[in-house]
């Protein structure tokens, strides 16, 4: 079994805004493209043009319907990838040390040369964030684009994960969640960012910003009857009255 570092210098991770994510899958495919060509083995696809295409993806978007007691049903788009947990059970379960958490930034990685493809880590991860690559027989997972974020061959502005760079709605943010003054930590504080399944005790680094309340437009008096929503005040009921009002209103212009 593999040991986690006592502490990490930084806690790099993602903040994902569920109020803004439109569910477009841009992050999914950008990730697939970058990580097929880069870190480790390519993300393979089995039966890609056939009856049951299945491939390795490090990031997927799920959609869930929410049906509140009052009001209309809602649809939440929920992107999910490795959350780079502080207490990552996928690391401690690894029999070969292939899975590890980096001391400098907290990124959880798989050293593919040591991975025996036993799948214990995928079993241990409560989030389903690891995928076995069927062609290579090694475990694949989000690397937080460790080969981008420090890459001196990329312009400085591009040294961020591919999913963050591509997100059209700007719903994905990257930074050091161990630094309370970082932009991402500030965003989490302002918007009430949440852990995914905190009861699992994994202390995920990635945070989710919850959807803002929906369908709040006042259409009826408040329940205690103290206030009615502001409504337009009529200036006329029919065209003749309107034209009379119009003439006066034009005088005031």
């Amino acid at each position: 079994m593999t040991t986690l570092p006592d502490k990490t210098d930084r806690k790099l991770g993602l903040v994902i805004d569920l109020d803004t994510c439109v569910g477009c899958h841009a992050c999914v495919i950008s990730c697939k493209g970058w990580n097929t060509e880069n870190y480790g083995a390519p993300l393979s696809d089995q039966d890609p043009y056939g009856a049951d295409p299945t491939g390795t993806f490090l990031n997927r978007v799920h959609s869930y319907e929410v049906q509140p007691d009052q009001g209309a049903a809602q649809l939440i788009h929920f992107p999910k990838s490795c959350l780079h947990c502080e207490d990552a059970p996928c690391v401690t379960v690894c029999p070969t040390g292939a899975s590890y958490k980096r001391t400098e930034d907290g990124i959880v990685l798989v050293n593919e040369t040591d991975c025996i493809g036993c799948g214990l880590c995928a079993w241990a991860c409560p989030y389903g964030a690891r995928e076995m690559d069927l062609a290579e027989g090694v475990m694949k997972k989000c690397t937080l684009c460790v080969d981008r974020i420090y890459n001196e061959n990329l312009p400085e502005e591009d040294r961020e994960p591919a999913c963050v760079r591509t997100c059209p709605a700007g719903a994905r943010h990257f930074g050091d969640l161990g630094d309370p003054d970082s932009d991402v930590s500030q965003l989490v504080a302002e918007r009430g960012g949440m852990d995914l399944m905190p009861e699992q005790g994994t202390k995920p680094v990635n945070k989710y910003l919850p959807p803002r309340p929906k369908d709040q437009m006042n259409t009826a008096p408040t329940q205690d009857g103290t206030a009615t929503p502001p409504m337009l005040k009529p200036i006329a009921q029919e065209a003749k009255g309107f034209i009379g009002w119009l003439d006066k209103a034009l005088e005031k212009l």
Binding site: M1, T2, T3, T20, V22, G23, C24, A26, V28, I29, S30, G33, T36, E37, N38, A41, P42, S44, Q46, D47, P48, Y49, G50, A51, D52, P53, T54, G55, E65, A72, A73, Q74, H77, G97, Y100, K101, T103, A135, D147, Y150, N151, L154, C167, P168, A169, G170, K214, M217, N218, P229, P230, M231, I235, A236, Q237, A239, F242, L246, A249, L250
Partner: protein, 942 residues
């Protein structure tokens, strides 16, 4: 074991070279960085400098690598050797292919040019393909706008000189309330996501009007789950509320619209309902300074919205009076429309209140001086921070034109067009309707057509009719059936050609249009028309030439295939002459260029047209000595001049003193400059020109200088669209050009010069109690038309398309997960898998667009879910309305523009025993390219 970590290379080489071009994975035209390794495409990302996408890229764009290497790519020209539809082809050389095409087309041009119907689908080179067709001399040319969103485009141009998407955009940086109608992933993919992201970042609100709460509507703060086809009624109710409360922008209406223009109210006059004009043709208003008539644009005039004018016994009322009289009628009160729209009266009031509150109580002011067309200088730019966007959901109905008009009227009454925080045009828009060409249809054998095919009619005189009054065009565009069909009616071409109505054709020539599958209404019927034979055993449509890059369903139905390249292997220009990539603050155009050479015997379609045009001796495509004028499309892009100094690309032209932009001569190095600049050209507006563009002298001068216009084109918005009234007058019996009697009532009722709402036509031809459910499609964000299914990555996201049913229907019919349903319309039935969705209008079902595939197409396995469980709603929709017993063929189209009314569809639904496969099933077609590989590990570097 104790913690240990390996040393890894965090700075690997990313690529050998980055080549910047323009995406074509949908119609959005984003800039992309194509990373090359070992001479192959390694990775695609967004171009940060690009005006459209600023570095971001959607799923489709990033998956372009899988489109480029798709096994469905055609490999060489094909000649059909089996019956049509069999998929039996033999590969031939380009020389033979071009000889065949020339052999078919040259005699047509010499004798009857109209016997060629050339329609170009999802073509981003329409200024080029239309030029080719014009040189050929056929009147039968259009692209796919007629079955896409012509209602949106035409309503916008006729009302305010531009519409949404490529014509304009919300003021994302200033708007405080954004309201969208019928918007899924249709058009403007990344910019809308980027814009919504900006609004969310600063807490601005979004109201989504859509029967389906997915995508943008899922993140909207307020969802209005409207009943399909009733958006116009809802909008007119909002207008009713705003008028009733006087919450409209009177100053804006008086200055910048035809609300003060006087209308002839004499019902006995042949000019009844026309606008009062002076001897120069200028529309007239009453000047509040003098109380006298004055041309609308006279310096110093203060147009009066209130005063009527009586002259020679005839009353003339300002348009504003007609608006008040119509929309204050109780029929538009919230209570009167609530049930029909599926929106409570309280909610309608609340939305009207909020629109008015934000527009007028949260007015924004930019400290920027500007001068208007009457010569008045304004110290500031005042803005109404309410912006709207709409797309196919309101446009693809038979009441779509008037619904889009109603929305523009709402925007204008709020004073929120071309102002800070509102909706802004993108150059070359705004552009008054009078600055557009009119349609041309005069055929002379052996000669070019007398002008551009498509345009904007001003009245009956401009219709495309022959001397006997019959339709001049095969699609009957610009006829009494649909006078303002500015984009043609591609969806009627095959049907009309098969029926010989208005005449028979010889050759159907198409590009990028999957008419034998998802691009046609009534797919089965269209397949039968394409294969039907006459009494001699000859095909009713004698010859079909088709160009596509991929093995689409349509390929099997052509006689000659001209294989196109992928978008990474070709030249293109996204031109200011056509549909450029401009932003509200800038004019911009872009190119594609071969970032990689084809590894197959394929050619860019436009380059093929250059050679075919020369072989046919088309004047625009040969030199004086008869030799080929343009070696290929790149040569055309560089050297063609539409008029002196104006070519397909505006950047890096040759001026008198070196390089210049806009107006200038051709420059042999122009494409190199584009490549060096990242594949695009952009020229920003001066600050004083950024808003109020139709009336702003700084903008107009800038546009003239850049070559967008030859002279300033100031105009006012047409709340009242006089050309519509001219058609009504004809229907009332005025004038020489008269509609056929069977269309008089419809023209009187639907071509109203002020926005109206009427129920979708399908409602009157079907039993709405029996067919009580509305059926829609939406385009997924990660898939574009049929092109996506060949994409190994995208089809793992959208390989299945169940029919989504609302809770009420799901429960009433006792559906459970895994069930199937038979869905029946007045036209046909399909049997398909279903799924439950709660966030859905309770009388609406829907599915993803164009996921269903025919077996054998797109190099997919015959057992691919797209072919076994995937389906199209197209089978339920006919291009004609059900017969009315009058023997006439009534198109299932908008009566103003001819737009295909896809979303009028009504169905009934029953639970059935699951069949083996979705029904109807079609026999497999033989693939000209075989099937794709059974595994992929697509890494180009080792």
């Amino acid at each position: 074991m104790s913690h240990q970590q390996p040393k890894i290379d965090t700075s690997p080489e990313v690529s050998d070279e980055v080549r910047k071009t323009t995406c074509y994975m949908c119609a959005c035209r984003c800039g992309i960085n194509v990373h090359m390794k070992n001479g192959k495409v390694a990775y695609i990302e967004g171009n940060r400098d690009h005006p459209v996408n600023r570095g971001v890229l959607c799923a489709k764009g990033s998956a372009g690598i899988m489109q480029h290497n798709a096994p469905s790519r055609l490999r060489a020209p094909l000649k059909r050797v089996g019956p049509r539809g069999s998929g039996e082809f033999e590969e031939i050389s380009w020389d033979e292919a071009l000889q065949i095409a020339t052999g078919w087309l040259a005699p047509i041009r010499a004798d009857h040019p109209e016997k060629l119907a050339f329609f170009t689908g999802r073509d981003q080179s329409q200024s080029f393909t239309s030029y080719w067709a014009q040189n050929f001399g056929t009147p039968n040319y259009a692209a796919h706008g007629g079955f896409c969103s012509v209602n949106m485009a035409a309503a916008g141009i006729y009302t305010m000189g531009g519409a949404f998407w490529e014509f304009g955009q919300p003021d994302w940086d200033h708007t405080k309330l954004f309201m969208i109608f019928g918007v899924a992933e249709d058009h403007d993919s990344n910019p809308i996501k980027m814009g919504i992201g900006k609004l969310k970042e600063r807490g601005a609100k979004v109201i989504g009007v859509n029967p389906i709460r997915s995508g943008y509507n899922a993140v909207a703060d307020e969802w209005v789950g409207i009943t399909p086809g009733t958006d116009g009624l809802f909008i007119l109710s909002l207008v009713h509320e705003l008028l009733k409360s006087g919450r409209i922008d009177l100053d804006y209406l008086a200055r910048y619209t035809n609300a003060p223009v006087l209308v002839n109210m004499d019902p006995t006059s042949s000019e009844h309902g026309l606008l009062m004009r002076d001897a120069d043709g200028k529309t007239l208003v009453i000047d509040r300074n003098t109380g006298q008539l004055a041309p609308f644009d006279q310096p110093g005039v203060r147009p009066d919205l209130a005063a009527s004018h009586r002259h020679a016994g005839v009353t003339h009322k300002p348009v504003m009076h007609l608006i008040a009289e119509r929309y204050l009628d109780p029929q538009y009160a919230p209570e009167a429309v609530a049930d029909q729209c599926g929106i409570s009266a309280d909610k309608i009031r609340a939305i009207a209140t909020e629109l008015a509150r934000v527009a007028f109580d949260e007015e924004i002011v930019l400290d920027q001086e500007w001068t208007d067309f009457r010569g008045e200088t304004h110290k500031v730019m005042k803005g109404r921070p309410v912006a709207f966007h709409a797309m196919r959901g309101i446009s693809a109905h038979s009441n779509g034109f008037q619904t889009c008009r109603a929305l523009h009227m709402l925007q204008i009454l709020l004073g929120s067009v071309e102002v800070p925080g509102g909706f802004r045009f993108k150059p070359p828009y705004p552009k008054p309707v009078s600055a557009h060409p009119k349609p041309h249809c005069k055929v002379t054998p052996g000669k070019p057509l007398d002008g551009p095919h498509l345009g904007f009619v001003q009245g009956p005189d401009d219709l495309a009719l022959d001397e006997e009054g019959n339709p001049a065009r095969i699609d009957k565009a610009f006829t009494w059936d649909n006078p303002m069909s500015a984009h043609g009616l591609m969806h009627m071409v095959i049907s009309n050609a098969h029926a010989g109505d208005p005449y028979k054709i010889d050759t159907l020539f198409m590009y990028m249009a999957n008419m034998a599958w998802n691009s046609s209404m009534n797919t089965r019927g269209v397949i039968d028309m394409l294969t039907d034979t006459d009494e001699n055993g000859d095909y009713v449509i004698p010859r079909i030439i088709y160009s596509d890059a991929y093995s689409s369903e349509m390929v099997a139905y052509a006689d000659l295939i001209l294989p196109d390249t992928t978008y990474l292997e070709r030249h293109d220009c996204i031109s200011l002459l056509d549909r450029p990539i401009c932003e509200a603050d800038a004019a911009a155009d872009a190119i594609r260029w071969p970032v990689i050479e084809p590894d197959r015997d394929v050619r860019g379609f436009q380059s093929v047209l250059c050679e075919l045009g020369a072989r046919l001796n088309l004047p625009g495509f040969v030199n004086a000595d008869g030799s080929q004028k343009y070696a290929d499309y790149a040569d055309y892009i560089t050297n063609h001049e539409r008029k002196p100094g104006i070519g397909p690309l505006a950047g890096w032209r040759t001026g008198e003193n070196g390089l210049t932009h806009g107006r200038g001569g051709p420059n042999a190095e122009q494409l190199d400059h584009y490549i060096e600049n990242g594949g695009f050209f952009v020229e920003h507006l001066p600050d004083a020109a950024r808003y109020y563009k139709p009336w702003n002298t700084a903008y107009q001068d800038w546009a003239v200088n850049l070559g967008i216009f030859d002279s300033p084109q100031h105009y006012i918005f047409d709340l009242y669209v006089e050309p519509l009234r001219r058609f009504q007058l004809a229907a009332e019996g005025h004038g020489d050009r008269q509609p056929p009697d069977h269309l008089r009532d419809r023209i009187r009722e639907t071509l109203d010069p002020l926005p109206i709402w009427y129920p979708p036509f399908e409602d009157s031809g079907t039993d709405t109690d029996e067919f009580s459910i509305h059926a829609l499609t939406q385009r997924p964000m990660a898939m574009y038309h049929s092109w996506g299914s060949q994409n190994a990555w995208l089809r793992q996201i959208h390989g299945h398309n169940p029919l989504y049913l609302p809770t009420k229907l799901w429960d009433a019919k006792g559906f459970a997960e895994g069930d199937w349903a038979r869905v029946t319309s007045a036209h046909g039935d399909i049997t398909v898998p279903v799924a439950h969705m709660a966030a859905l209008n309770e009388n609406t079902v829907w599915t993803w667009n164009a996921i269903g595939k025919r077996k054998g197409a797109w190099a997919l396995d015959k057992d691919a879910p797209e072919a076994t469980k995937g389906f199209l709603l197209n089978h339920l929709i006919h291009e004609l309305l059900p017969p009315k017993g009058d023997g006439l063929r009534w198109a299932n189209s908008d009566p103003v523009t001819g737009q295909a009314a896809w979303f009028d569809l009504r169905v009934k639904i029953e639970k059935v025993t699951p069949p083996d496969e979705a029904q109807p099933d079609f026999a497999p077609i033989k693939s000209p390219v075989g099937e794709g590989p059974d595994h992929l590990e697509w890494k180009v570097s080792e």
